[in-house]
Amino acid sequence: MRRVVITGAGTINALGASVAETLEAMREGRCGIGRLDIRDVDRLTVQIGAQVRDYDEAAHFNRQQIALYDRFTQFALLAADEAIAQSGLTFEGPLAARAGVVMGTSGGGLNTQDENYRAVYEDGKNRVHPFVVPKLMNNAATSHVSMQHNLKGPSFTVATACASSNHAMGQAFQMIRAGMTDVMVTGGTEAMLCFGGVKAWEGLRVMSKDACRPFSATRNGMVQGEGAGMFVFEEYEHARARGAEILAEVAGFAMSSDASDIVMPSKQGASRAIAGAVSDAGIPLESVGYINAHGTGTAANDKTECAAVADVFGHHANDLMISSTKSMHGHLIGGTGAVELLACLMALRDGVVAPTIGYEEPDPECALDVVPNEAREARVDVALSNAFAFGGLNAVLALKRA
């Protein structure tokens, strides 16, 4: 079977505008969550989020591009530029046709929708900008990355709420492994921090008003983030033949559906995805040293996730580390798995495990080594990245040290 490796990574999120900045923040346990700077924030009950700050779209894109690029597309393009530059690949001739883009997003161009609904409903305007549809559509980011880099192979967008980017990267992995393509640009992007985006989440009563404290007994909900994470997945022999630097190997992937509840997580569904990813990678359970948790900071997710990990790993659950970096970069919904995969790369490559910050008090229902508050040095050979979406759709990736 063909092997798949990662040869490029890129990101923009509340912790930084590059992989280097983001990993530095994760090492230092820095928090990207703060008071939201968005229109009508005073009418929101939840006024915090992990926003990309000091961002000037005009510094990256011209007027024509901005007319077509929603914020989620801009984030995807910036992250893809960084990832592709690191890989050293240019997509021309036969390679272009053997390379595609699979990206996850949940809200797509939500800022564009919000602004234009406001224009027609609140401001009473009867005309909107001609590019509203191509700007808001969920596949806009995928298409613009494809156009920008001449990626002409299979390309599409995946939307499975909080698991979107893991499902996308899992697809990209399987397409290369199966021989459908040789290179895939993959990851996820999200820009939901607008009035309507936050207002909708508020309604569900699962958001924290002060901080994201995964696994802590004092946790009181999730905090939304925004941004993108993108990677270059490449067939192993292809990468080796050109002498590319291999960041990690994508060794396994599994998905499952809880088939039970539209919002409450299931231990069985999560367990099947975790066990499935390890089994797909063909590695012993004991080789897993780190899990980047879904770890939303809600009461329900964190205890269910810990129970699932304990079930799958048995005694080994006490020896592995599991942390939630959402405590720092927030929950990027459809882009979250992609930014979290960076923490897995850091564990495998640099031997630094990102912490769960904001941890105040142990919860007996989350009695695992959650790497509280401070990053830790450790040799990690295999890392997993969990994503469990609303709707009960689960996707777990297994990465191996290169």
Partner: protein
Amino acid sequence: MADDVKTKVIEILAEQAVLEPGDIAMDQTLEDLGIDSLGLVESIFAIEEAFDISVPFNANDPQAGDFDISSVAAIIGAVEGLVAAQKG
């Protein structure tokens, strides 16, 4: 006024539980009524809309906060308190 609150809250809970208002007893819990976490969040939304009040409630810790949801009577009492505080 107090009776209005009681009648309306019972109506809201009955609708969630798919029961007749007359079948709801004051000492019943949400569990007795078969109202799950989504049903509870929806009930609270309906209460906020009906009385034009804001209910302090976080689904991550339904027991915390000042809004007592331990029984039908407790919910009615809590809503009465909020109405008095926010509309008085």
